[in-house]
Symmetry: C3
Subunit: 137 residues, 3 copies
Amino acid sequence: MKSLTDYLWFNTKTARAYINITPQVEGLVAKSGIKEGMVLVSAMHITAGVYVNDEEDGIIHDIDEWVERLAPFRKDYQHHRTGETNADAHLKSLLIHHEVVVPVTKGALDLGPWQQIYYAEFDGRRRKRVIIKVMGE
Amino acid sequence: MKSLTDYLWFNTKTARAYINITPQVEGLVAKSGIKEGMVLVSAMHITAGVYVNDEEDGIIHDIDEWVERLAPFRKDYQHHRTGETNADAHLKSLLIHHEVVVPVTKGALDLGPWQQIYYAEFDGRRRKRVIIKVMGE
Amino acid sequence: MKSLTDYLWFNTKTARAYINITPQVEGLVAKSGIKEGMVLVSAMHITAGVYVNDEEDGIIHDIDEWVERLAPFRKDYQHHRTGETNADAHLKSLLIHHEVVVPVTKGALDLGPWQQIYYAEFDGRRRKRVIIKVMGE
């Protein structure tokens, strides 16, 4: 099995942000020379996620409202006794999930027509990163 | 690393449907000849999911009610400004997750006694597909 | 591709429990001798999950409250017509997700500074298990 590993760094200007990282993942698959296999794309933080969905501003707005509705900011989380204020970001990360595994076929990402890979930041304005690991032959 | 890739097509009669695809995944694992590794089962659409849970009509009904409660149909999603009406299906897809990775041991799916692999359709009545990629030795 | 497979058994004293299994996963990665690849950590039950997040008592409490809020115990789930009373545990398992894929780089788990691998029990007081499969070179 061959593999290639790289990391993407982020430092978003807003607390929450949704960034299409498909081009960077595609570039790494091409660089790896792997024809058949998969790529693991995984946030390295407990307050961020990675998901696959549409590149359309409306749905991104809807996703942002939805994660806030299901995992809202509140002052009274027990995690905040540590001095942190970001328990909602932990829950949003669990809701969206922190990693995806994307198939690689014939040397390219084998995604459906509307599938794009997104980094979801839930507690930004600091340096954070994602690991991308391409594996296969 | 050896691999075998195939695709399943669906065209459900209802907008939402839950289809047990374990037999098809098992068949592909057997065909691959792979003894140790994993199989990636991933929806190729942003309004469908793949999950592992029970084959029991009651729980499938409960899952369907639950995804509608947490990601309900509404008219006023911003995504609908594009002319689409299926933003809830995007959110249901994120909730259930669009892919699973299932272990393969001694040439078979290494699932627990009640685990079954389901395709979850949230915006059906059109041709859609799932990729199945078996990888290992 | 090399691989190493092992299973962890649990029998929690409470119905719900959150157990950090990172040391066991790390140990298996070391034992495998695999330097580059991934490890699949997957619950073998439909009423349990595996997730990656923080080892901090407050957030674990918050996660437990959150899964109960979004997938509450109720008497009237249709699944209960079978005689079971654990439909909420099925839904909690879907919410948290039942498996994670963690990268292995230079012979070790390639996790961010706060990422820990947890087994989430939602219907305990019985013997249950998790499969750990390390794959790579």
